[in-house]
Every structure is written in structure tokens, then in C-alpha cells.
């Protein structure tokens, strides 16, 4: 007979304000209930106020692990990307959010952790260690990430070049990456405005790509970034087939 295996919470022993920021944070019953409430509200809001249309829903994998990547031009983006996903996966979906925006103030980091289920990415000090930790969690748990490889919101609505850091997490893995294109988010919540205006939003979900054969080297990371950028950009053109 095997010994019983115990696995304490990854963030055990961290005070609350540190646990919110931890990449090892795990959800208990309260966080699960908050996620259900929040994401049900977000879905209703996006459908009623922004008439959210989802194209290519059939391309979404049923189970983790997978990564959703998209263009980034508004604070609504992560909400829109997560909205079509199965509520059953709510605890396993982690939007990767800018640490310096969402995890510096205790109240905002509590909101980001308990409502959005976001994990932080510290843009100015995101080393290979943090990416390796994210990669390990993605595969071992397994879970789903929502990522914006541009690294920041576009201030003009035009897509920025994808950063190669994303490749460090994905090169050499069999994790499906789903390219998505968000349309209308920029008009609904421009960078200079505080509150969203009524504007239709559309999300086009492309076919999954894997990078199993891509070497985990700088050139491989750049290849991952380029392929995904091309895929997302392609979805942005009207003629591009979704499925």
C-alpha cells in the first residue's frame, strides 16, 4: 500500500497580502464563490451592454492546459477573453496581469486575486524564474492562462509586436495555444477614459497551435512570438477563416 500523499496549499504560510501576489496562490471555497459571482456578472454585462459576439467557440479546448493569447488595447480585454470559457473552469483560468498595475495596492490586488483570479507578471523584473514557475504550474496543475504578448495596452488600437518572453513559457511544450482577436474593446474603453461606453465587442477564436518541436532557445522563443503574432493578426482581417 502506498503512503498517502499530502500537498499543502502552494501559498501556505504567506500573509494574505503576499498570497494575493504569489504565483503559487490556490483558490479555496471563498475565492471559488467570488469567481462564480464575478464571472457570471461579467458575462451578463458583456452580453447586455456590449452585445458580445463569439466566433470560433468550437476551437476552445474542453480541458486545461491551454493558453489564450490576444491583442491588447483595453482593460476589458481579459474579461472579454475569459467570458466564453466554461464556468466549470473558473478556478483554473488565470489572466496574467501587470504586477505594477494590479498588485501594488492591497485593495486592488485583493480584487485581482479574488475576483479576476489574476496572477502577476512584473514587467520590469520578470526573470526566467517567474516564467519557469508559470510554465510549471500550467503543465503540472494543469491550468489555463490568458496572456497578452504585446506586454502593454496599445494606446492607438494598432497591434504592437509580440514579446519573445511568451516563447520561454511555451517552446518545447505540447500546451495548445489559442490565438484570439478582440474587436471593439478599444472603442468600448479607450486608454484615456475611465468608464466603458456602449459599443459592440467581438471575439474571434482561432485554431490551437502547439510549439512542441520548437527549441527552447532565444530563436525558438522569437519563432513562437512571430507565429502567434501572425495568427492573431490574421484573425483580425475579416476574410480570415476562423474554423
Amino acid at each position: 500500500m502506498d503512503d498517502w500523499k499530502y500537498k499543502p496549499a502552494g501559498d501556505l504560510g504567506l500573509p494574505h497580502h503576499e498570497a494575493f501576489k504569489s504565483l503559487k496562490r490556490e483558490n479555496g471555497l471563498i475565492a471559488t464563490a467570488m469567481h462564480w459571482i464575478w464571472w457570471s456578472f461579467v458575462r451578463a454585462y458583456l452580453n447586455l451592454w456590449h452585445n458580445l459576439k463569439v466566433e470560433g467557440r468550437e476551437n476552445l479546448p474542453k480541458d486545461p492546459p491551454f493558453v489564450l493569447v490576444a491583442n491588447h488595447c483595453s482593460h476589458l480585454d481579459a474579461l472579454v477573453l475569459a467570458a466564453p470559457l466554461d464556468l466549470r473552469l473558473r478556478d483554473q483560468i488565470f489572466p496574467i496581469a501587470a504586477g505594477d498595475v494590479f498588485f501594488t495596492n492591497p485593495a486592488i490586488s485583493a480584487f485581482a486575486a479574488l475576483m479576476l483570479n489574476a496572477l502577476p507578471m512584473w514587467r520590469k523584473r520578470c526573470g526566467p524564474h517567474a516564467l519557469a514557475e508559470l510554465k510549471q504550474r500550467l503543465i503540472q496543475e494543469p491550468c489555463c492562462y490568458i496572456l497578452f504578448p504585446e506586454g502593454q495596452r496599445s494606446r492607438t488600437g494598432e497591434m504592437l509586436p509580440f514579446k519573445a518572453g511568451l516563447g520561454m513559457m511555451l517552446a518545447g511544450t505540447s500546451v495548445p495555444v489559442i490565438p484570439c482577436y478582440l474587436k471593439g474593446c478599444f472603442e468600448a474603453l479607450r486608454p484615456e477614459t475611465r468608464w466603458p461606453v456602449r459599443h459592440p465587442i467581438q471575439i474571434r477564436i482561432g485554431k490551437a497551435i502547439t510549439f512542441e518541436s520548437v527549441p527552447n532557445t532565444r530563436s525558438g522563443w522569437e519563432q513562437v512570438a512571430t507565429e502567434l503574432q501572425t495568427a492573431v493578426k490574421g484573425l483580425g482581417t475579416e476574410q480570415h477563416p476562423v474554423a
Partner: protein
């Protein structure tokens, strides 16, 4: 005293001399503690690290003690609700430490079980209180089954049953003591006497005597177990004379029995949770209480004490004798 007075009124909070004495003694100790800490540091009896640790512990007690005494003094409803909350928080720490929190359905069943135990206690519905243990266990075993994952079934359902029995049923008994007219001095006596064990253990540490279970807890030496036993039993015999005045429990034999039971079960509770921590490979259950660790690190000894004191008192004199039962749910 009517049921609503017992549940909600602080007007007769200091009616019993033990309540007054214990409240004044604890408040004075907390007020004098900074002087003692600084005095010991000045004469070189404690190191600087120990001094800092004592200050952190003192600050934590300055939050915990008013919350505990406040709930007990202002009414039985607050006492029961506070113990219900403590049970939930202790379960949370246990679930996060063992990994059981990942089994959401089982955790939800246990949380509902603890909530129902608290409501049954508030209603002074002892039969439901007792029935909830087997019923919740059956629910845990059923819910664990519904995942259709036979692998690990025994582990997750057994961890769930243990969690509910320790914190729902075990700590629930402490809440049920609040259904007695005399609940304030009774609960305060249990709390301060169980703390006596811990204080003795903390002061003596592992310096004197040999450890009883060195792999489980090297600080639990025969000397500090015996010192704890003598001091706790003595305290229970002094306070119990007044708490149980006019009943069979006021005899020195019964009080000595109660004191020994509180001390031994408290030390066993300490060792049980030390063993759980060693098994899990963790030092503390959490960092909720600075200087102490988690709530469970602070209140581990209360878990077995609660049920043992309840049934000892209930056997000899009864708990809640003369109090209306099913306060909220009876039709008449």
C-alpha cells in the same frame, strides 16, 4: 435568566465571581506583560530575539483576548457564533495544510455541517447537534463518491470526516456549553486552564526533562507535562469550587478529575496537531496570528478539551439544565 437574556444580554455578564476574577486577572496580566518583558530583558534573563517574539505574541493576545472575552461577556449567541467562526477558520487552516481544500464539494459539505452544528447549538437542539455528526459523515462519504474517482477516495473522505469531527463536532461542544445558564464562568475556566498548559510549556520549553515523544514534539518533556498537570488541576480546583457551587462537581475529587482531564486532553491535543504538522512537513498551520502561527496552532488543545469537559459536566450535573430547548424551531 430567560433564554433571550442568556443569548443576547450583557447585563448580567459579571454576575458570577469567577467571570469577574478571570476577566480582571487576564486584563491585568496583559497590561503588566510589557513591564515584565522589558524587566526580564533589562536584567538579561531573556535574549533580544525572545524579547521581540514576546512582544509580537503580546500584541496578538491584545487582539485575541478582547475578542474572546467580548463575545463571552455580551451573550451566549455571540459566544456560539464566535466558536462557530473559529471552527470554520480552523477547518480552513486544516484543509489548506492537508490539501483537502482542493476537494471543493467535500469542503462545502463540511462548511455546511459546521454551520448547521452552530445553528443547532444556537437553538439549543441537542438531538440535532448529535445527529449532525453521523449525517454529515454520510454526506461527506456520498459527496466524495460523486466525483467518480475511486483513486484516493479513502484519503479524501477520511480527511473530510476527520476535519468535521475535529472542528464541527469537537469544537462544537465548546459552543454547546454556552447553553448553560452558568456558561460564562464555565467557558472562561476551560479557556484559562487550557492556556495554563501552554504557558507552562512555553516557559519551561525543552530545557528540563526528557521529551516524551521526541519525533512528534521535542518540547513536550515529562517535566513540563507534569508541571502543566499540577498547575492546571490546581487552577481548575480553585475556580471549579465557585463555578460548580452547590452541585456534586464541587467536591475536590470531581474537580481534580476535571482538572486532570483538561490538562491531559489539552496536552494530547497539542501532540495530535504536532503529529499532523510533522506528517505534512509544515511548521505552522498558517500565519494568521503573529507570533503564534495559525489559529489552529493557538487553539489546538481546545479541540479535545471541549468534548471531554462537555460530557464530564453533562454526566455529573447536566449542561443547560432547565433551559428551553429548540428555542427558535419549536412550535409551542
Amino acid at each position: 435568566m430567560s433564554a433571550s437574556e442568556r443569548l443576547f444580554s450583557p447585563m448580567r455578564a459579571f454576575e458570577h465571581p469567577v467571570t469577574t476574577t478571570v476577566t480582571i486577572a487576564v486584563a491585568s496580566s496583559l497590561l503588566l506583560a510589557p513591564l515584565v518583558i522589558e524587566g526580564l530583558a533589562r536584567i538579561g534573563r531573556i535574549t533580544d530575539a525572545r524579547r521581540r517574539q514576546l512582544w509580537v505574541r503580546w500584541k496578538s493576545w491584545m487582539v485575541m483576548a478582547p475578542l474572546m472575552f467580548g463575545a463571552i461577556l455580551i451573550g451566549a449567541a455571540w459566544t456560539i457564533a464566535g466558536i462557530g467562526l473559529l471552527s470554520l477558520l480552523c477547518y480552513r487552516e486544516y484543509a489548506r495544510a492537508t490539501g483537502l481544500f482542493r476537494e471543493k464539494a467535500i469542503s462545502l459539505t463540511i462548511v455546511l455541517g459546521i454551520t448547521l452544528v452552530t445553528l443547532a447549538t444556537l437553538d439549543n437542539w441537542y438531538r440535532l447537534f448529535m445527529a449532525l455528526t453521523p449525517l454529515t459523515i454520510v454526506m461527506i462519504l456520498t459527496v466524495a463518491l460523486l466525483a467518480d474517482r475511486p483513486q484516493g477516495y479513502i484519503q479524501r473522505s477520511a480527511l473530510g470526516v476527520l476535519g468535521f469531527v475535529l472542528f464541527g463536532h469537537g469544537l462544537g461542544h465548546l459552543g454547546h456549553l454556552a447553553n448553560d445558564q452558568n456558561y460564562r464562568p464555565l467557558i472562561l475556566m476551560v479557556l484559562v486552564s487550557s492556556e495554563m498548559n501552554n504557558i507552562v510549556g512555553y516557559i519551561l520549553g525543552k530545557r528540563i526533562g526528557y521529551p516524551l515523544l521526541p519525533q512528534t514534539n521535542p518540547a513536550k518533556t515529562l517535566t513540563n507535562v507534569l508541571c502543566g498537570l499540577i498547575l492546571t488541576t490546581g487552577l481548575v480546583m480553585i475556580l471549579g469550587q465557585s463555578v460548580f457551587r452547590g452541585t456534586v462537581l464541587a467536591s475536590w475529587q470531581h474537580l481534580m478529575g476535571l482538572g486532570i482531564l483538561i490538562s491531559v486532553s489539552g496536552q494530547l491535543g497539542d501532540l495530535m496537531f504536532s503529529s499532523i504538522k510533522r506528517d505534512l512537513g509544515i511548521k505552522d498551520f498558517d500565519v494568521t496570528v503573529p507570533g503564534h502561527g495559525g489559529l489552529l496552532d493557538r487553539f489546538d488543545s481546545i479541540v479535545p478539551i471541549s468534548a471531554i469537559v462537555f460530557h464530564y459536566v453533562n454526566y455529573f450535573v447536566g449542561v443547560g439544565v432547565g433551559e428551553p430547548v429548540r428555542i427558535w424551531t419549536s412550535r409551542g
